[in-house]
Symmetry: C2
Subunit: 803 residues, 2 copies
């Protein structure tokens, strides 16, 4: 390794006063660090004898040894020193622990500062509590081995790596008094999302936002390999970090006291610099983008753990990643090594006879809400205020007759969002994120109320950029998602507007967020946070410019695999329903709400009152569109979910009304997809009685769905009518083509739907042959027309419900 | 903008001779560039009058104006100059066009070099062909507006941004004679995957791999915003690129001839440097990681297009992103502007009366396979050789009695893969990629045959690292996926071994790859490439260390939404079936094969012959495990897909055999999930006859599935037996716990399955109450035991089929 961690290097950059801590204080820091290391190792190994009051025996050892030791000493070091600066400077600070698999470390820190026992009174800060802390770790019914929602002070699950820095920036936005430290492991640093997150500093407003202090922890190894960044020559690493816009401050070493001194000095230097940058920007305005500090900490993996096990080096290598001594229960030599290792922390100096940390250990630990395990920002629901949401009347479009007018739903929504933006101007607790698509998605009215966050240079031709803007646009779905997650988990509100196809880029992130919310909801002390709201527009049916690569409606399928308690999916069919749905989701808590709505001109079907009623039901009959006479059941049900399917279903209903007026057609529209699920499987699910009343038990149901058709089967397979359910949707028959050609290619067009009705309604096939032929002819006409003109034929392009 | 693109800066770094091209040659380059720009604009606008032989009229204009102009002139410039150096140096080169939405540019280049007309003879290199080239662009039934499989010379769809550089590195691996130029747009550069890909140079072997030349194209804007990198101060950008390990070479300007000269000089400098680095490494061995050049090209977005439209600046701003003059058919001023714009290229100097490019335009264009549109590397199937696959006998585990022995399936597979690695030592056309998990996934036998690619410094404690290794480990699923895609699309073979949960990180990438393959299969000239093979291990049921965040079996659901012609999903239940499945998938072409298999000790059920037969069928009855007497239908079917479900089903079958021996149980095992689909929906699908024969039409089917249970319903809802199908699987009831507790939490355990059989088999509920109670008791016992011991109770942990 070019820079082996054997010496302590002085801090590398501009001269700072240095903290010059007394030897006593350094000793106290070391005591805290040793205590945390002891507690981390104890969690991995000990079932009993937590204070080592007797010689270690195999029956003191857990039967299954689980957990990650390697990163823990480094995390503990950071925790110890963050405590000190928080206390010294009375900082309002949280920490995002990127190497969250080092759960034992973060739990140790929280137990030491007392916040753990306040959160979980059964795990007291005493010997019995310590035994419980050890016993529950990674034990069935206990606590996860990673930093998780169960961990006090955390907003970040460290299981899936890549998102720590984005979360940290999200937490810092609009929190001018907050410092967000963010530990980035050198493993995580290899991921794409993390690599892309460094540039988030181009969007951080030094006036209205807080500060992020990235702490790049180079312990040198992943699971079984060295890491890329740890093996870079130091000059190259510095160039990289400067290229990211940071000023690096280095700490390296493996001699504890030297590292403590260097770490204290480095943290003071970094925090002085942050304070200066903020003071200057706030007093004098922002002259240029600040060059924020980054702390680079180089310490050995598995530091202070066993140096060698079974003749192989462990500390300082990847072998310390998980459990460095695996055979403790069976192997007396391993047991002896473990005891030596644990006693090396001198627990008898750290804990009193009752297992309580001695005063020296706690000397540098902050109090109350300042503790990292207790800061309310990390339990954002505590700080959450409801959004000021205006009445919808001002934004709704008038609808005298269904289908008589056209509006772009997202543009209509833009008006509402602009008002929310304006009304949160002072509070600054609402943000819109998106990959450079706010205007393209026709939400640009929001720019009347705020700008797009931007701290780089501007040119006279730029529009809507602003140092204090609350729309966040960057061509990284990962960063958008990470920012918003961090923002929400610290108690604010937001909306992610995204291309439907490309939201799959964050599939795994939304998985983790849903898991976080599901787990949080079972923790009474975790207060509900605002929901994560997606507006998926530029959807599969309107990729006229972009074609096949931009066509994918599968995100709905993806989220519907996850916890029903958390997931909601809405497909508003027009502008007013989109308003109602958005108004609703902005009031909800602890959900992931997925809204799919087009930005292209779309018929207005429902006025505001009707839209409210329809959205409240989530699914219902549109009597005005059907031909039921009110007596008994219809002959056929035509159902739609999604704006384009709704249009095609209504066109089909119009054709049926005209050409087969005696067929009793019921038109059903579904806004809330989870209504289709059984009541037992989703809180929004319909009872069988409700479902049967809407869809019948035995009539053919032709269902035009926005996405992959089998999703509807998967939701409705238990219903009586299921054998009669026929679903049309997107089946990967995509390309660059016209809107109507897209529905024809996927057999979702009005003509095909009418043919489906004819083919599946008993008795109709024979007497409707002429109408069926007409439909066939229309499709043939379409194919010929489009080949020749490249546009949709006038009868389709100019169609209107009322026409 | 700190470095406005108004001047041509000299190249910035070490002195190079400079190419000193004659004025004639520069003029020829400019002619080619103008021709390409003309053709790009023509594709967006013109339906007729391709050579502007008459004044432009509205009816010459396409009815729908689609496409992306903004990036096209820059791409054309790069194409023009790559042509020159390829010809001058007789380079074997391909180009990955990151800004692939600039389809018009890449199509123009391919049409000019003749490769387009050779690939598509109906689009000749003459006036009629030009008219067709224009007319088909983004026209229904025509060609997509993006670089796509239809584009000759491409291995990269530019629709979803982020993967160009990873693809480029994948193409360069094991192609020592190949240069892969890679254009990275400054929009794409903001994505996480691209940001993470820069470090791929730490894995590129200068001896056995080819070279990648990144060309960072800073045209300054995304859709509606400036880009982060274009607004960095030049010094900061240089630090960033040096930090990435590159030596930057700059070209900037907007005066064409100055830019041509600077670009020629810069390319020569970069290529000289690459040649020197390769020569040195190959002659003298690798002393240190080379510092490869990166070319930074700063030219205006929409360069040479309209400067101003309707009073607003367009060229040099984001407004030129798509169609700079939107109203050409209706607005005479726009039409006049378009004509002026098109004529500014002086088409009459570029094309003869028949529409053929004049000799000057083609003077710097290479010939034959050297053309970027014709290089066989970009149609990898042309170069593909079948893998040497050994007989499986040597690697299979002996199975005398089912369930009598245990093996770790992936460790067994490791033997086979090691042999494939060894047998491709000279050919170097097989790679394994994974996020630092090859050893953790127990495939470490491969390290007997090759090392892990690594070009950074090494330490004495490192293991298996090697400058020439063919295992690629980096903690970035995006990079793994991108490398492998690039490697496969250039005609080689590979395997991606990944944590099951975290393969969702590349959901969107696999979407795009499946779309690529689906489209390619319809193009006769695109030769089949090796399949993209996933080995998903460390699966949902065995996250003892990691818990809930690592539990997600949804990737199978995700891929099964995509084109059935491309997607295959296998769940081998033991070591020998894993061998057979892997042997099979390594022989296939143009598929995405998903294999889910555990790495933990697993019972051996089938010997090699049985495994072969079972895998060939994809699903079948395990007679030895059931209690049918061969006469008539069974009373109940117990089906399993996946290793853990198979174990639980066999345990349940054992219990039934012991306690309810008169119940005729059929045990079915499914390896190939797509067998469950109807024949009409998937090539592997069963006919109803086959399905009914296996699962019956009306007996209860208790199906234990590895993943989300509703997937099985979605696959089988059309079958006669569907109303009797009861599926157990993972339902997000996860945490850090023991293996058996995981199945209990998700109701997939043997006791629950037996209860399901009793509850659902007609007549059994009454007479099997005692057995049912026993099952309840066992579950109660489990809960108590695990709370106390934290391990699985002995009757489960020590259970064996034969015991």
């Amino acid at each position: 390794m070019p820079d082996a961690p054997t010496t302590t290097t002085a801090t590398a950059t501009t001269a700072t006063p240095g903290s010059g801590l007394s030897d006593d204080r350094i000793r106290a820091l070391d005591a805290h660090w040793r205590a945390a290391n002891y507690l981390a190792a104890g969690q991995i190994y000990l079932l009993a004898n937590p204070l080592l009051t007797e010689p270690l025996r195999p029956d003191h050892i857990k039967p299954r040894l689980l957990g990650h030791w390697g990163t823990s000493p480094g995390l503990n070091l950071i925790h110890t020193h963050l405590n000190r600066v928080i206390k010294d400077r009375d900082l309002d600070a949280i920490c995002v622990w990127g190497p969250g698999h080092g759960g034992p470390a973060v739990l140790a820190g929280s137990w030491l500062d007392g916040s753990y026992s306040e959160t979980y009174p059964d795990v007291g800060r005493d010997a019995a509590g310590m035994a419980r802390l050890f016993g529950q770790f990674s034990f069935p019914g206990g606590v996860p081995s990673h930093v998780a929602p169960e961990t006090p002070g955390s907003i970040h699950e460290g299981g899936e790596l890549g998102y720590s820095l984005a979360h940290a920036y999200g937490a810092a936005l609009d929190n001018p008094g907050l410092l967000v430290a963010c530990v980035i492991g050198d493993g995580e640093a290899e991921t794409g999302p993390l690599a892309g997150s460094w540039h988030a500093n181009k969007f951080l407003d030094p006036v209205h936002d807080g500060a992020v202090l990235p702490i790049l922890h180079l312990n040198g190894y992943k699971i079984a390999n060295p890491t890329v960044l740890a093996r870079l020559p130091r000059t190259e690493l510095d160039e990289l970090l400067r290229g990211y816009g940071h000023e690096p401050v280095h700490v390296a070493g493996d001699e504890p006291f030297a590292v403590h001194r260097a770490m204290a000095r480095a943290l003071d230097e970094a925090l002085d610099r942050i304070a200066l940058l903020q003071r200057t920007a706030r007093a004098e305005g922002i002259a240029e983008r600040p060059r924020w500090p980054v702390l680079v900490l180089r310490t050995p993996k598995g530091w202070t753990g066993p140096e060698e096990v079974d003749g192989l080096p462990v500390a300082g290598t990847w072998r310390s990643h998980q459990v460095p001594l695996p055979g403790v229960r069976e192997n007396p030599e391993h047991l002896r090594q473990l005891e030596r290792w644990l006693r090396s922390y001198r627990p008898e100096e750290l804990f009193d006879a009752d297992g309580r940390p001695v005063p020296e250990v706690l000397a540098e630990v902050p109090r109350g809400d300042r503790r990292l395990g207790a800061n309310p920002h990390a339990n954002g629901g505590l700080r959450l205020r409801s959004l000021p949401l205006p009445g919808l009347e001002r934004y709704a479009v008038p609808v005298d007759n269904p289908g008589a007018t056209l509006h772009e739903p997202t543009r209509v929504l833009g008006g509402l969002l602009a008002k929310v933006m304006a009304d949160t101007e002072a509070r600054r607790d609402f943000r819109i994120v998106g990959p450079d698509e706010t205007a393209s998605n026709r939400l640009e009215a929001v720019f009347q109320a705020t700008g797009k966050a931007w701290q780089e240079a501007t040119l006279p031709t730029d529009e809507h950029l602003g140092r204090h803007g609350r729309v966040m646009e960057v061509l990284s779905e990962h960063l958008c998602q990470g920012w918003l997650e961090g923002y929400l988990l610290t108690g604010r509100h937001g909306l992610f507007s995204c291309y439907e196809a490309f939201v799959h880029i964050v599939d795994s992130m939304v998985n983790q967020h849903i898991k976080w919310l599901k787990t949080s909801r079972a923790l009474p002390w975790r207060r509900p946070v605002a929901s994560l709201n997606y507006l998926l527009t530029s959807h599969v049916w309107r990729q006229d410019h972009n074609g096949f690569s931009h066509q994918d409606p599968g995100f709905v399928d993806h989220v519907l695999n996850k916890s029903p308690a958390v997931v909601r999916v809405y497909l508003p069919p027009d502008a007013n329903t989109l308003l109602c749905v958005t108004d609703h989701i902005l009031r909800t808590r602890d959900y992931v709400n997925v809204v799919v709505a087009g930005k292209q001109p779309c018929f207005d079907w429902l006025d505001l009152d009707q839209a409210r009623a329809h959205c409240a039901r989530g699914a219902g009959t549109w009597e005005w569109a059907g031909t039921e006479n009110g007596a008994g059941e219809p002959d056929v049900v035509l159902a739609a979910a999604g704006d384009v399917p709704t249009q095609e279903v209504l066109a089909a209903a119009g054709i049926l009304r005209r050409h087969l007026p005696d067929v009793a057609v019921r038109v059903v529209n579904v806004v809330d997809m989870t209504r289709l699920l059984p009541k037992e499987e989703h809180p929004h699910g319909m009872t069988d009685h409700e479902f049967d009343a809407l869809f019948t038990r035995d009539r053919p149901v032709i269902f035009a769905y926005h996405g992959y058709p089998w999703l509807v089967h998967r939701l409705a397979y238990r219903r009586a009518v299921h054998p009669h359910l026929h679903v049309r949707g997107y089946k990967e028959a995509g390309t660059t083509t016209t809107p109507f050609d897209m529905v024809v290619r996927n057999d979702l067009d009005r003509y095909r739907l009418v043919m489906d009705v004819i083919d599946r309604t008993p008795g109709l096939a024979v007497r409707a042959t002429a109408v069926r032929q007409r439909m066939q002819d229309a499709r043939t006409r379409h194919h010929a027309w489009i080949r020749e003109h490249g546009t949709d034929m006038p009868e389709v392009a100019e169609w209107s419900w009322t026409g």
